[in-house]
């Protein structure tokens, strides 16, 4: 898997650019990843990103949009407003977590 530099740190990513090492992530990296996909980070964005980070630590899986709504308290509609078009994928990308997948 490739190693690239983000926010002046070497970071392991997969072939789609998603981070693969939970502990390599920090807020500076998140800002840079968000800028790459043109998401200006507000307090509302950070609330979701921090929820995803904490939840992954306990669950070992990236929270689904439903879980961000029921446990994280941000309705799915609002997730679409904050991370347009592809909220689940964009939230995971910025939070340095695996994207949602099907089986093929």
């Amino acid at each position: 898997m490739p190693v690239i530099r983000i926010a002046e740190k070497p970071v392991n990513v997969n072939e789609e650019g998603f981070m693969t090492q939970y502990d390599e992530w920090n807020e500076e990296i998140a800002k840079e990843l968000a800028a790459q996909i043109e998401i200006p980070l507000t307090e509302e964005h950070w609330k979701i990103i921090k929820f995803l980070r904490e939840d992954f630590k306990v669950q070992g899986e990236t929270a689904t949009s439903r879980r961000v709504q029921t446990v994280g308290g941000v309705p799915v509609k609002e997730q679409f407003a904050l991370f347009p078009k592809k909220p689940a994928k964009k939230m995971a990308y910025i939070a340095g977590l695996p994207k949602p997948k099907g089986c093929v």
Binding site: V13, E16, K86, K99, P100, G102
Partner: protein, 424 residues
């Protein structure tokens, strides 16, 4: 006093559990009880093929209790709730059953009521159909036979769902079906998914994307449904995209059994949180969840349940003797995918390894080509019905290992360059 093992649900996973453990447990020490409200065992892979006339409804149903060993007690009633602190189950018939060890195998159920407008009587099973229920699949056959053309939309509401590739197979089979009826040009087929594409794993994406384009099936990705307008027959997404349909084949939100929620044993979709290696509840030392009822991040599919139960049976024997469970499950799944015109694909993967191409070795009949359309894979899918009723449910030996093997698989080439696709 004999100790009591109680299994909730006598479907695919529950039946395999009782058959496996009946052979292993000493009858002087243990009794086994299965609780299930309904005595009809459905061959679920057949529900996908029934609408296309491959099977008749009668071919897909047998009595559940004929697959339970003679010494197993079967109670035909539903569960109101479980009191896990006191090891008791309150049944719908008012009786209370105690247990020493509990296995929850009550599966997952499509819930059209979870999406506003979906189960509206004006459209439900008139122009909107599910196929992962017996009634839905039978009704859909009639709807397909009577379809004279228009917009056929195949839709997934939300992950996780039972057998994640089934909707895609449905799209391929519909294309072949209408081609054979010489009316394909009158049918516009659209595949709608909440995921970023029909294929989300790199090797499948690269090797199988042609399957949609070649068949002229259009794709609407990242579509998270908000509601359906039954009058105008339009699906509306969270970001206000609209998809009109004449015939909607949907996979509704899937949820675990309601009693799991009532008992405080479930997550937000009523799936039981368990260790993904051992299926032991994260909260209770004497509760396991097998098959679709658990929250493990594997496909909700019969093959996963089968491999899982094999390892679970070994673990269970260690667990009741106070030993550490050593047979860790790797998330192995092995599925035939129908692609239409008498062909199919085979995928074999686990928690860590995505579906790869290559050849899959099966003694005597194999090898089967992986991730590639072939007649042999279609024959495999058809032969599986016999294997299911005669070998799999009765926990007889099947020549596929429980843990995934890399034998025959082509290793992925890792690309050097990095693509950032999140904004695409």
């Amino acid at each position: 006093m004999r100790r009591k093992l109680v299994v909730l649900g006598g479907g695919t996973a529950g039946t395999m559990v009782v058959n496996k453990l009946y052979k292993k447990l000493d009858k002087r020490d243990w009794s086994i009880t299965v609780i299930d409200r309904d005595n009809k065992h459905l061959y679920q892979p057949g529900l996908l093929l029934l609408p296309f006339g491959v099977y008749t409804p009668e071919e897909l149903v047998k009595d559940k209790d004929r697959f339970f060993p003679k010494g197993v007690e079967y109670r035909r009633t539903g569960v109101d709730h479980v009191d896990p602190e006191n090891n008791r189950i309150f049944l719908e018939d008012g009786q209370v059953v105690e247990y020493d060890q509990l296995v929850i195998a009550t599966g997952t159920t499509p819930r059209p009521d979870q999406t506003p407008g979906m189960d509206d009587p004006a459209v439900w099973r008139k122009s909107i159909f599910d196929f992962y229920t017996f009634e839905g699949s039978v009704a859909l056959k009639e709807a397909l036979d009577n379809f004279t053309g228009g917009r056929l939309v195949i839709h997934i509401s939300e992950m996780p769902i039972k057998c994640p590739v089934a909707p895609l197979e449905f799209a391929f089979l519909a294309d072949a079906y209408f081609t054979e009826r010489k009316m394909r040009e009158k049918v516009e087929i659209t595949y709608v998914t909440p995921l970023e594409g029909a294929f989300t794993k790199p090797v499948c994406s690269r090797q199988l994307s042609y399957m949609l384009t070649d068949r002229h099936i259009s794709l609407e990705p990242d579509f998270v449904i908000e509601h359906i307008d039954p009058e105008s027959k339009v699906m509306i997404s969270m970001d206000e995209r609209e998809i009109p349909f004449d015939l909607l084949v949907t996979v509704p939100v899937n949820m675990g059994a309601d009693f799991i929620g009532r008992s405080g044993l479930g997550d937000d979709l009523n799936y039981v949180p368990v260790s993904k290696e051992t299926f032991l509840s994260k909260k209770y030392e004497n509760i396991f969840a097998l098959g679709d009822a658990s929250d493990i991040p594997a496909s909700k599919a019969g093959s996963v349940a089968h491999f899982a139960v094999d390892l679970f049976a070994e673990n269970f024997m260690q667990h009741i003797h106070g030993r550490h469970m050593t047979h860790n499950f790797d998330g192995h799944a092995n599925c035939f995918i129908e692609s239409g015109n008498g062909k199919g694909l085979l995928i074999d993967f686990n928690y860590q390894v995505e579906p790869l191409s290559g050849m899959f070795p099966i003694p005597i009949v194999g090898p089967f080509p992986l991730l590639k359309e072939s007649r042999l894979n279609h024959m495999g899918k058809l032969a599986f019905r016999w294997i299911y009723w005669n070998l799999l449910l009765k926990a007889r030996w099947i020549p596929i290992p429980s843990l995934m093997s890399m034998k025959g698989k082509r290793q992925v080439e890792i690309k050097k360059g990095v693509e950032v696709n999140a904004s695409n």
